[in-house]
Amino acid sequence: MLALKNLQKSYTDAGEKHTILNNINLTINAGDSISIQGASGSGKSTLLHLLAALDKPDSGEILLNSSLDETQTENQDITQFTERQADQYRQFQVGLIFQKFNLIDCITVMENIMLPAKITGKVEHEYIQELLNALGIKSHINKLPNQLSGGEQQRVAIARGLSHQPPLLLADEPTGNLDSKNSDLVSQLLVDTCKQLNTALVMVTHSRKVAMLTQQQWYLDDGSLTRI
């Protein structure tokens, strides 16, 4: 689905060049669940941003399989996307989950969840019901986000990230703001739901316990990505 080839990324601080991603190679297939661990500042989030076409690498390619985009006949390098293409890619191919849940306060839980589906025009009520059931938030759909607990809010954020049926879900520290009990519950739900929907999951986390729930565990250190 996505193939990262020789990805390089560095930044300059006080005239000194720091390489945070060095020759990264990774293949993400449909339905894979991948966790990326690493110390603070190791480049985990940067890697996730590259996958979401939010940032561009210094060199290397991220090839998007043509089977995911019916209008394309050959693989596309998302690092070469224009802003418009990047927007389209995020709209249809990617779901994003953040550490802070970032729910829109003024609309209901259901409206929050339905928003990406409505934007892409892919509203399938049966699928949404399935999602609500899987995440256990059916009883909260008419509430406002500030009426929910942290764990419930992150579950809504997961549902929102999946509502438009993206083939790839990118989660940046999804349990970073939760206590351990909620963290276990939410991370389990996240992995299970993605498996159930055959959605590839790339999750950045500090927690080894959360990482262990995924099929593949990778560790980013000194710019290099190593499978654990």
């Binding site: 989030s45 802003e83 995020r90 970032n102 829109i104 003024c106 928003l115 934007i119």
Partner: protein, 835 residues
């Protein structure tokens, strides 16, 4: 932003205070006739016989040495045209005629008060320091004229204006039209100068031989015996009157002051809204530092005091800059203000002296009070944030409580406004009622914002999910931008109110002029020859307007003639009239009179009331029924119209003639006028020309109003922009989220614009009825009390739509900058910032 808003507020306030002060000084100086201690004046009471040099010399020979002649003429100023091949060609420098006044300084200086001349500096600033009163000003002024080479004295700002109108690189002196150089200009900073150029009477006659003696001033008190002797010595065509009373002018001054002050305060208040938002912005950006200070053990009180002290210092600095800018602004605006006042009140206004220290104290005081009040809300919020009090959303009970409070304030404001408008007559109280009307509108807007936005949301189709979300965000934003929305509402209401008022006034004036000006031509001519006699053999029908000034209830009233023919009956524009079918026959028989609104409202008369007035010819007091109240826009005078047949030409003056006839006959009249030494140019005006001149004067009068309208709207939009900048951080996570879903930056920017324009649109919807109400109050109460006239309110939907478009455009222009800046930021930056 904070400094800018404080400077704008201080500059606006200072400019208005300077203009007010100048107008006040000019009014008071008008009563001094430029010469101190004038107790009486001698003027002509006939249009046929004027005050002449011979009258003056005869009276002085009879021993009345306290009489001083004053001659006046209105002329353009020219300069030698360097580009012209002939040396005699001149170029006009002035846009409008300047008053040249000649004073018989030789006679004046022989009076005891002027026997001890003082050496004067020619520099106005030095002179200004040595003068402490208007009387001293005038003494020094006259002394300058009486000694040494011929000079002309004028206010430095008038000279500055004249120099500013010279062609580039022009160094030639000012001249008359014929190219004769004017005397050397000396500037003298005194409000007594008004807009005049003063010179010795001999110099005036040398330059302008056709200048006429306008009056003789009686300087100093005359004994009773001497006064009686003077009265007896006066020929029939001259009258001795006491120096002009100050009553009317002071009335005009106070209404003018009040109007200008109200507008300035409106701008000042709207500026304070910006201060609130700017302080909010400032404190928000410092919040993290202030929190660190708290962690280091600095108390909340200390932080509070430091922030307040900083704002006080900034306010003082801004006040100083604002005062300097305000004085410059007043100088720039002075030609327009002068034109406005001359059109509106028929009073010449000059340039006043301003005490910068006094002005600075006034402006700083007001600004300090305003900025401290405006700072209270953001500082209070900061206090809560530093105390780490959790921002708990209001419970349903609390929400209901506040909603009731807002509704209650609406009812209280509206009721108070209603009571004042129905029972009060003082202008300042009516202005307070106007403010209450606007405040009640603010309350109603705040109480109904959520309901109105929810209603609008229902009309957004489901296929536009982002628009639906944006409209819901508008609802949330309305709670956070209450102050800015109120500022916009106030500006929009004032804008609609003022524009509808001016439009109605314009419509009423055009209708009134078109109805009244039925003759083909009008001639403005005072004195000999009488044009009715001149037109006898030309086939032209000439109706003259005769006028007297009569005392009525202790005030001066104009008594005008009005023709009774069918054409002129139809031309009369009534505000109210008697139901009696015989109105015109009663008028023609001299049983009743027509009065203007100024008379009826000023003396509280209604139709069919009876007034005691002197007969225009015999002076005998009789009773007359008020048959009609007529429109008379633009005139500050109370007026009574009586049939032309009741007047006696030898006892009344005539300044205007209505002329009707074929073009060929008019040409004959023109020729006769030329033969009689009267230049028809400038005196014989076609009705269309007169209408155009009148409407030009009207438009000039409202330039200030238009300017203030736009400034107020701009300031309100700035206030909104400040609020948006503050809110940008609040809505950043939500915008980031929407963009992370693949919505383009442009779409996000348009959605943000939609949100704020929706808020403004709702404010405009609420501002419309209140603007109309404000316009009604301005026309029927404020105008009634300030000017003694009213007119029908014309509600033009096109005008309202135009205001909608202008307001939304101004808002778009101002808020687009922060929105574009936010939209151009890479999404990755927002994601990093949020997380």
């Amino acid at each position: 932003m904070l400094m800018a808003s404080l400077i704008i507020a201080a500059a606006g306030l200072s400019a208005v205070l300077v203009i007010n002060s100048s107008a006040k000084q000019s009014y008071s100086s008008e009563q001094q006739f430029l010469v101190p201690n004038v107790t009486q004046t001698i003027t002509s009471n006939s249009s046929n016989l004027k005050l002449t040099k011979q009258d003056y010399s005869v009276l002085r020979v009879k021993g009345f040495s306290q009489l001083i002649a004053v001659a006046q003429t209105k002329q353009h100023i020219y300069t030698n045209n360097q580009a012209a091949t002939q040396a005699s060609e001149t170029t006009k420098v002035t846009q409008r005629r300047i008053d040249f006044t000649g004073i018989d300084t030789f006679s004046l200086l022989s009076l005891p008060d002027f026997l001890n001349p003082v050496a004067l500096s020619e520099q106005s600033n030095v002179a200004a320091k040595t003068i402490s009163s208007a009387s001293d000003d005038s003494n020094q002024l006259i002394r300058q004229l009486g000694f040494g080479e011929p000079i002309a004295i004028l206010h430095p700002q008038l000279l500055e204006q004249l120099l500013g109108q010279l062609p580039d690189q022009q160094l030639e002196p000012f001249t008359t039209e014929a190219g004769t150089p004017l005397p050397k200009f000396n500037t003298f900073e005194s409000a007594a100068l008004g807009n005049d150029i003063i010179m010795d009477i001999a110099d005036l006659y040398r330059l302008y031989p056709n200048a006429e003696l306008s009056m003789l001033l009686v300087v100093g008190e005359l004994s009773k015996a001497k006064q009686d002797r003077l009265q007896e010595s006066l020929p029939n065509h001259l009258q001795l009157t006491n120096a002009k009373g100050a009553e009317q002018d002071s009335e005009l001054t106070s209404s003018f002051h009040l109007n200008l002050m109200a507008m300035a305060l409106l701008m000042f208040v709207v500026c304070l809204f910006i201060v609130v938002n700017a302080v909010n912005l400032l404190l928000n950006s410092r919040l993290s530092w202030l929190k660190i200070c708290r962690q280091l053990g600095i108390s909340r009180l200390q932080l509070f005091v430091v922030q307040l002290l900083e704002i006080i210092l900034l306010t003082l600095l801004a006040s100083f800059i604002g005062v300097v800018l305000g004085i410059e602004l007043a100088k720039l605006a002075s030609p327009t203000v002068q034109a406005t006042l001359e059109n509106l009140y028929s009073v010449e206004v000059g340039f006043g002296k301003v005490s910068i220290i006094g002005l600075l104290i006034q402006v700083s005081g007001i600004s300090l009070v305003g900025s401290i009040c405006a700072t209270f809300i953001p500082l209070n919020k900061l206090n809560h944030q530093l105390a780490q009090t959790k921002d708990v959303p209001l419970s349903l009970v609390q929400q209901r409580f506040w909603k009731r409070i807002i509704w209650l304030s609406f009812v209280v404001f509206a009721a108070a406004a209603y009571i004042i408008l129905n029972h009060a007559q003082a202008l300042w109280l009516l202005l307070i009622a106007t403010a209450l009307v606007i405040l009640s509108g603010c309350s109603l807007l705040l109480a109904n914002y959520p309901g109105m936005l929810a209603l609008i949301q229902r009309f957004i189709p489901a296929r536009f999910p982002l628009l639906q979300v944006s409209s819901k965000q508008s609802l949330a934003l309305s709670g956070k931008t209450k102050i800015a929305c109120c500022a916009f509402f106030i500006a929009a209401t004032s804008n609609i109110g003022m524009n509808l008022m001016v439009d109605s006034f314009r419509g009423a004036t055009v209708g009134w002029l078109e109805q009244r000006l039925v003759a083909d031509y009008y001639i403005y001519h005072n004195g000999e020859p009488n044009l009715s006699d001149l037109a006898k053999d030309t086939g032209v029908n000439v109706k003259q307007r005769l006028e007297n000034t009569i005392p009525f209830q202790g005030k001066q009233v104009q008594q005008f003639s009005y023709p009774t023919g069918e054409l002129y009956q139809q031309a009369m524009a009534f505000y109210d009239k008697s139901k009696d079918e015989n109105l015109w026959s009663e008028f023609a028989l001299g049983k009743g009179v027509l009065v203007n609104q100024q008379f009826a409202f000023g003396f509280d008369y209604k139709i069919n009331d009876v007034v005691e007035l002197p007969h225009p010819a015999t002076g005998e007091i009789s009773s007359y029924k008020i048959l009609g109240i007529i429109y008379d826009f633009g005139s500050p005078y109370k007026q009574v119209l009586m049939p032309l047949e009741m007047f006696d030409l030898s006892k009344s003056t005539c300044c205007m003639y209505a002329v009707q006839g074929a073009e060929s006959n008019i040409d004959l009249l023109r020729e006769k006028m030329l033969t009689a030494g009267l230049d028809p140019e400038g005196k014989l005006l076609k009705t269309e020309e007169l209408l155009a001149i009148s409407m030009q004067a009207f438009d000039d009068t409202f330039i200030i109003t238009d300017g203030l309208n736009v400034v107020t709207l701009l300031v309100a939009a700035l206030s909104l922009a400040c609020a948006i900048i503050v809110l940008m951080n609040d809505v950043r996570p939500q915008n980031m989220l929407i963009r992370s879903m693949g919505v383009s930056a442009l779409k996000t920017q348009l959605l943000a614009l939609f949100q704020y324009l929706l808020l403004c649109f709702v404010a405009l919807i609420f501002a419309t009825p209140f603007g109309i109400l404000l316009s009604w109050v301005l026309i029927n109460d404020i105008n009634y009390q300030a000017f003694s006239w009213t007119y029908p309110l014309i509600i033009s939907p096109m005008k309202i739509l135009q205001i909608y478009a202008t307001s939304l455009l101004v808002v778009t222009v101002v808020i687009i900058i922060p929105i574009i800046r936010a939209g151009r930021r890479p999404l990755i930056e927002d994601i990093r910032w949020v997380n």
